[in-house]
């Protein structure tokens, strides 16, 4: 009964904390009252995700401390060295096994032996990632494959085509005007025509600059799109990493609490839920929970020694 309360308290904590931590439900199993169920899930998951060293460690612990060792092993989820060390120190040879988490986003795992996090996105997310990566790749491909000069030339030609008729008309009007004035073929007329040609040349230069700017903008657009797709593809992984980090931070606490709780429930029947009262001060609670867990663990060890001696 005490275990059930403890597990529910943890569940409450998890539910009110980061949504990503909801995956711990999977680690602890659906029924917190059934330690075997927790073990079973852990073992099943560990087989699929982490090495068998965790299992060996768990088995050693079971041999050493009996039925509760299995709980200890199953709750050693911390990814912090101190936590593991503390636990291992406290539990002797009973090691902390690899663990995995599963959410709607996908599965994540941590192997404390190798210190590696592993993650596998759920299929829809993975498809999205693949699509985004493909789009990003396509975008970058388009960027690298883009004929900048060709694009600029196309823009330039388009602008020129728009203005060409006006220019021709302006030139013809000037010729008409010069001819009506008798200035066509004269130096003064040529000066005027040259001025018009200069203006046209300036316009063409402006068109060239505009085409260059448009080509550059298109290039920038391709780059931005590729980057956006790339970022979109990375976003689930970022979330996964955040989950893993969260898991890593939370694992030792959960592990210690579980060990302590098991010990209490097994050897004293006293439940201490101090560490799970205030979710807003989790660090402080965790700290006190760790201290309590250590005390309980020491008491449990002492009892075990007493039992052995008896």
């Amino acid at each position: 009964m005490a275990q059930s309360d403890t597990s529910r308290g943890l569940e409450t904590y998890i539910d009110t904390g980061s949504p990503g931590l909801g995956l711990l439900d999977f680690a602890f199993g659906d029924d917190p009252d059934n330690p075997s169920d927790i073990n079973r899930d852990t073992e099943l998951t560990a087989r699929g995700v982490t090495s068998s060293i965790g299992e060996q460690t768990t088995n050693s612990s079971q041999e050493a401390i009996g039925q509760s060792n299995a709980l200890t092993g199953s709750t050693s989820l911390s990814d912090t060295a101190t936590a593991n060390t503390g636990l291992q120190t406290q539990t002797g040879t009973q090691g902390v096994g690899a663990f995995t988490g599963q959410t709607g986003l996908g599965g994540s795992g941590y192997d404390p032996i190798t210190g590696q996090f592993t993650g596998q996105l759920a299929q829809p997310y993975q498809q999205n990632v693949n699509q985004a990566l493909a789009a990003s790749t396509q975008g970058y491909g388009a960027l690298t494959g883009q004929d900048f000069n060709g694009t600029m030339g196309q823009r330039y030609n388009a602008l020129e085509a728009l203005q060409e008729q006006d220019r021709l008309q302006a030139q013809m009007n000037m010729e008409d005007r010069l001819y009506s004035q008798g200035r066509l073929g004269s130096t003064g007329g040529a000066l005027q025509q040259n001025a018009l040609l200069d203006a046209i040349a300036q316009q063409q230069m402006g068109n060239a600059n505009s085409a260059f700017g448009q080509a550059m903008a298109q290039r920038q657009q391709f780059g931005d799109q590729a980057m956006q797709f790339g970022q979109a593809a990375l976003q689930p992984q970022q979330l996964s990493i955040q989950q893993l980090q969260a898991m890593g931070a939370l694992a030792p606490q959960v592990s210690q609490n579980q060990v302590a709780t098991n010990n209490l429930s097994e050897f004293t029947g006293v439940q201490d839920t101090t560490g799970f009262q205030d979710t807003s001060t989790s660090n402080i609670v965790n700290a006190s929970s760790n201290t309590l867990s250590e005390q309980l663990a020491q008491e449990a060890l002492a009892k075990n020694e007493t039992i052995r001696s008896v």
Partner: protein, 488 residues
Amino acid sequence: MARPLVPLEIMAPGVLGLNKQGGDGILPVGWATKAVNMVFNSVGRLASRKGTRDRVLEANKFSGTVTVGHEYIDAANTKTIIYVDDTAIYEESGSGINDLTNSMNVVPYKFVNFNGWCVGHHPSVVPIVATTSGGNFSAGGGTQYNGDDVLAAWGRLWVLDASINTLYYSDLLINNFTGGSSGSFDLAKYWPNGMDAAIAIAEWNDYLVVFGRKSIIIYENPDDPNVSMAIADIIEGIGCIARDSVQQVGSDLVFLSGSGVKSLGRVIREKSLPQRDISKNVRDYVASLSTSTETIKSLYSEDERFYLLSFKDAGVVMCFDMAQRLEDGSYRATEWTMTVTDMLVLQDRTSVIITSDGTNSETQNYTGYLDHVLYDGSGGTTYDIDYEGVWNDFGQDIGHREKILKSVTTLIGGTNGDTATVKWAVDYTDDFDTVGITFPKINKAAAGIKRPMTKSGEVVKIGLSSTIYGTEKTLKRFNVMAKLGRYV
């Protein structure tokens, strides 16, 4: 019963000038069918022209033919006359001439004064320039264009290259045709009726006039050729056939066209009277003289009020009295027998006539009443005047009756002792009977001299010829008396 005498009085004979277009028709008595070596004097009567006097000593006469005479006025307002004959370019200096050729080509340049320089252009040689009076000619610097005609106006030189139908203008105040504000106009694009050949250019009432052979282009704002100079008008069907026939006459521009002497009127904008036919009554005759247009020269004298147009090959100078325009728009004309190679009017208004006998040339002032008077005033040769009136029928009432000529009374202005010959012919046949008259011994008095006449006919023509030897002769009146005969 004796039949009465009828008079035929011809007041101011030939006062309307030559009329060679009327043919044998009956014309008003004021017309003349011949007026040789005559002009219209200050009171408008037909009179003998003046003679000529050499400007240089006999020993300094030009060998060959002087084709060009030009008064050069340099920046210091020093004036001298430049001549070009067959061998050299000369400058008149006192009674002599100096050779300024300086190894330049000797061709009949067209000279103009430009910014203190004397610039000469010719279609086939490099332009030449003299920068001061008395200085030798040298090749023009910078870019130069050979030209069929050259004009100095609006601070620029304007050169007409007929071979490519282009009008060039120099930089401002520099005879250089590149750089600065120099440039050109393409005339070929603007000739009406497709194409024409440029002949001459002239300044006229602040317009630049380009004469083609059959058309005229008039530019406005030539003071700013690069910006605002533009065609103001184009006249079709009339052009200029002789470059040196163009003269400014008051506000008009007179030139020889293929159909006679014309003038541009001032009302160019209204186009109501773009040109006037000056030689309307001698058109065909003038056209018949225009065989070699290169040797046609002209002159306009404000003092003498005439426009002279010389035809060297024909040995004729047409004289148009510009003092008064006739009702038909033409000007009174006479003709001179003189082989003129060039003419010019100096700044002091002296008219200079350059003549050639084929061997030597003379440069002479238009003065006196003897030709070829020497430099010192001695010598000189006489010349003849010749007048013939029109056919007269003595009026409509008796026009178809025979006139039996009885006498002629001649009133002529002249000098005592002068002689003249009165002549007459009848019925459209130039078979003249003549009678000589000698002026009575009165000094420059009009003399009424009566002489008997012969012949009879329906129409009668009266004339007079005389030799001018030092004094002017003026035709004032003929009074013919005749008896009426049968109807014809």
